[in-house]
Symmetry: C2
Subunit: 242 residues, 2 copies
């Protein structure tokens, strides 16, 4: 019988190098809010999203590409940039056909780590594009790393719950023997029916809700409302057209 590919969940960027990720599809997960916003912008027709990890780079690449520069610190648009990190800022009427240059910290750092460690392929995932991610993973028949971006390297629950949601959908297609995945799957099973109330207990919710971002956060844990697959290619995240 053909061996199934292996799936692992990595709970923090600090733990990524423990795993052999070569020949693997790495799913970058940053539910609050980078990978939710990326899916939304591309779903709404953005030509591409360029993820960058510094404000200077964001401004420079914005100039070079004519793209929209975006990034927040402490819930406010970073001085020198034009827009924020909210998925609600990127409806089709605004973003269609445009380049979005997005500054994020946790998600972008993990993405670059995955590339540097030899990932075969990098995609991004969050609840708004859950099904697109799962369909892709099943179709590829490659090993998978579900990479949680965490928060300043600290374990977080929203990324873990998304990992659990993916596992819930794809588990029949993979060999899964890792305690992180078992835990993520258990946590998702425990909370899939009370996600909107449970998620209010997480530290990241408290941090962001204090900036008045509740409706953003609820969107970020809503399934399949921006169901497209952001695929990393030569510095850009674009819609996968394989």
């Amino acid at each position: 019988m053909k061996q199934k590919p292996v799936l692992h969940t990595v709970l923090s960027p600090r733990l990524l190098d423990i795993y052999d990720i070569t020949n693997s599809v790495v799913v970058i997960i940053d539910v609050f809010r980078a990978t939710s916003t990326i899916a939304t912008a591309l779903y709404n027709g953005a030509a591409r999203v360029i993820p960058v990890d510094s404000v200077e780079q964001c401004i420079q690449i914005g100039k070079n590409t004519g793209g929209i520069t975006a990034g927040e610190r402490d819930g406010k648009i970073i001085p020198g940039l034009s827009y924020g990190n909210s998925p609600a800022e990127y409806p089709r009427s605004f973003i269609e056909g445009k380049t979005l240059v997005l500054t994020t910290t946790n998600g972008t750092r993990l993405l670059h780590m995955a590339l540097n460690n030899g990932a075969a392929e990098v995609v991004t995932g969050s609840f708004p594009n859950l099904s697109a991610v799962c369909d892709h993973l099943v179709s590829q028949d490659k090993n998978v790393i579900l990479g949680c971006s965490a928060w300043k390297d600290r374990f977080n629950l929203e990324d873990t719950l998304f990992a659990g949601a993916v596992i819930d959908e794809v588990k029949d297609h993979f060999t899964i023997h890792c305690d992180s995945s078992l835990m993520a799957s258990n946590m998702y099973g425990l909370h899939k029916k009370d996600m909107f109330s449970f998620i209010r207990n997480t530290t990241h919710w408290h941090r962001l809700a204090s900036y008045g971002l509740e409706s953003d956060l609820e969107y970020c844990v809503t399934k399949d409302v921006a169901n497209t697959l952001p695929f990393y290619k030569n510095g850009d995240l674009v819609v996968e057209t394989v």
Copy 2:
């Protein structure tokens, strides 16, 4: 109103330095099996347990102290040492009054990291001494780090479940705002009634059960069967007599 001390759960030694552990009590958790065996040996009257991280050091300290040298690799006693890592090897009739020099990898490494990072106090915990650990934490009124030893830095469930069991007991006495603790608490709540069956799903169970250690492992997730507090003092783990 007096501020409660803060409790955090650290899921892997790799994540320890993210937290400020000065002025904190650090609980070293290595359920399968180091901290279960340490509690058992001291409960049964061992004079002290000296945790060491190399075989050479174990042999040397064994010679210097006249202590019993112990350690396993792949379920077998390491050549040059005299006993293994099983709590069942250390009944009162054998260990009373003696020094046990115990080689472990994950737990000892985390213990030394905690000391190097300035922990105010280091104790060890596992299900066999759950109540002793909890009573001590509540009595100290200091910040607490529940430090999971993990397995080669990988997240593991047995240490996480013990952290959850501690939180279950002490939560009214601490400020707990960390996703790791919330997750550990949820996982323990989910499995406290089916611990013996659930624990069979963990990767570490599979690894050790293949060496025929099932009854050892069941003992290691049994509460309060060796209810004493191993306390680190000048290189030794001794019974806390504060």
